[in-house]
């Protein structure tokens, strides 16, 4: 289908054009779903409200249920509001051996949140996470897109304090 012939969807233009750019590199429309959800989630501030999911479904001409099925399968897609910053603390084995659970406790304690809660000022949400592929830096956590390794509880607390 020619790009110009595509009906308007609920997706913002920049997301639509990012998707359009990828289209020629994949043989099916469905294959654009994960990239489209990444773009949309970025646009909607780190999570996917219903409106975003429906817009992606419309853009790729997929049933909404298909898109929901995918969103719920993957740990990096969120259907609930998240903090401005997303903190993922690894507690898998290599990190646990070096104190990963203490880091999780320190960060959640400092922000006054439990698993999946957003801190009162909307600043942070914290989740316990599986191995992030950086076990040589254990214990480590991921803040938004950045890795922070060789943490102590104090350093971890300081890192989240300094977020804006």
């Amino acid at each position: 289908m020619a790009e110009s012939a595509r009906r308007a969807t609920g997706l913002p233009e920049d997301v639509r054009s990012a998707i359009a750019e990828l289209r020629k590199h994949y043989p099916t429309e469905e294959a654009l779903l994960l990239p489209a959800l990444h773009f949309a989630q970025k646009h909607w501030g780190g999570w996917l409200p219903e409106e975003a999911i429906l817009a992606v479904a419309q853009e790729l001409q997929l049933p909404a249920a298909r898109v929901y099925g995918v969103v719920t399968f993957y740990d990096l897609f969120h259907q609930n509001p998240v903090g401005r910053h997303r903190v993922r603390v690894c507690t898998n084995l290599s990190c646990a051996l070096r104190g990963g659970n203490e880091i999780l406790e320190a960060v959640q304690g400092r922000l006054g949140v439990r698993e999946n809660e957003v801190s009162g000022d909307g600043k942070c949400s914290v989740v316990e996470f599986e191995c992030l592929g950086a076990c040589e830096q254990a214990p480590m956590m991921m803040v938004d897109d950045e890795y922070h390794g060789r943490l102590t509880p104090e350093r971890a607390r300081r890192i989240v304090e300094e977020l804006d």
């Binding site: 294959a31 959800l37 507690t91 084995l93 599986e130």
Partner: protein
Amino acid sequence: MSYEPVLLRRSAGAAPGAPPVGIGAYRDDGGYEGLAKALTMAPAEIIEEVKASGLRGRGGAGFPAGVKWSFIPKESDKPKYLVCNADESEPGTFKDRLLIETDPHQLLEGCAICCYAVGAPVCYIYIRGEYVRQAEILESAIREAYQAGVLGESVLGKGFKLDMRVHRGAGAYICGEETGMLESLEGRRGQPRVKPPFPAIIGAFGAPTVINNVETLCNVPHIIQRGADWFAGIGTDERNTGPKLYCISGHVEKPGVYEFPIGASLDTLLEAAGGMLAGRALKAFIPGGASAALLPADKSHLPMDFDNLAKAGSMLGSAAVVVMDETTCLVRSVYRLAKFFAHESCGQCTPCREGTNWSQLVLGRIEKGHGRPGDAELLVRMTANMSGTALCALADACVGPVRSLAQNFRPEIEEHINSGRCPLPYRRVFEETA
């Protein structure tokens, strides 16, 4: 004998956080000469060379790469694909991240040679969603390669057309399993497929597809450039050849990625990694990632290659070596792995969905002091029902650590049950909700 790194040759001395080797420096060091040479060879010749090298997959299963490539039908009415597995989610594993961060062109060159050998005009590098910076590094290396005419309409001006894309996952261990990955690439939940048909016949988008791990593909340019005999001369024997990256983590002084000829022992790795943390004694180790059976300290001399580890009841897997010292509670450690597998099971197969969950529950109750007499036998029986009864190898992955704990470290389980608590002087590290 000192060993000259192959895969890490361009990055071994680099400072942590240094920018990746760019295309200019890569070419100055002989990079892309393997690809240039490959383009003068017949595709079948390349496949024969890779077969002769003995290169086995570095993603976990150890399948011979050249043999896998030879399964791709010569004639196909659909375009063929290479999907590079950069999902790297096996706990303890971080070597592919290093390969991408330090020397991305080495991977692109390996991918390009594979594509030419099997006749695939498209390569997707499927990278785990958490590797945001690493995806950017690959994308910028791919841009460099297009600009330099290494990729695109005519690879190195030799008329072979190749499109390469980075495709980001979104946080799911099961998408590292090759058919889960294909489902995910096609825009679905990453639930593994029934095999056969194998991906070499019906893979991505219904077309013949090669799937190889990052490290596997990084070896390929060196094999083409220096020859199969050179490669086959490295390692323990003709079934275990070539250089190998070992990821060592846990209770060691200098955790990291170390390159050795395949078949290095834990003793050798420990020496390179500065020894045990704080000089404490070794208790047990996992040689090949979360899916591998735990081995006791007296196996530290064992050559860690595919066959020696299989003989010892464990596996090389992704060569993620997790070291646990005398202060470690093994019940708690394996509980944590079982919890991981329960979280990551895609839920299609009953033995896996139920077995991973029960493994977590039973180990959790033992660790919390509520274990029941017979729990060790229960774990052994449970894992017997999970083994070989599910669609993919995730169920067996959970069996690896759980069964080895129940069989080889039973006194530690009994001690927990008999004393009604974890006997190790660990700080509160066990979440109450478990």
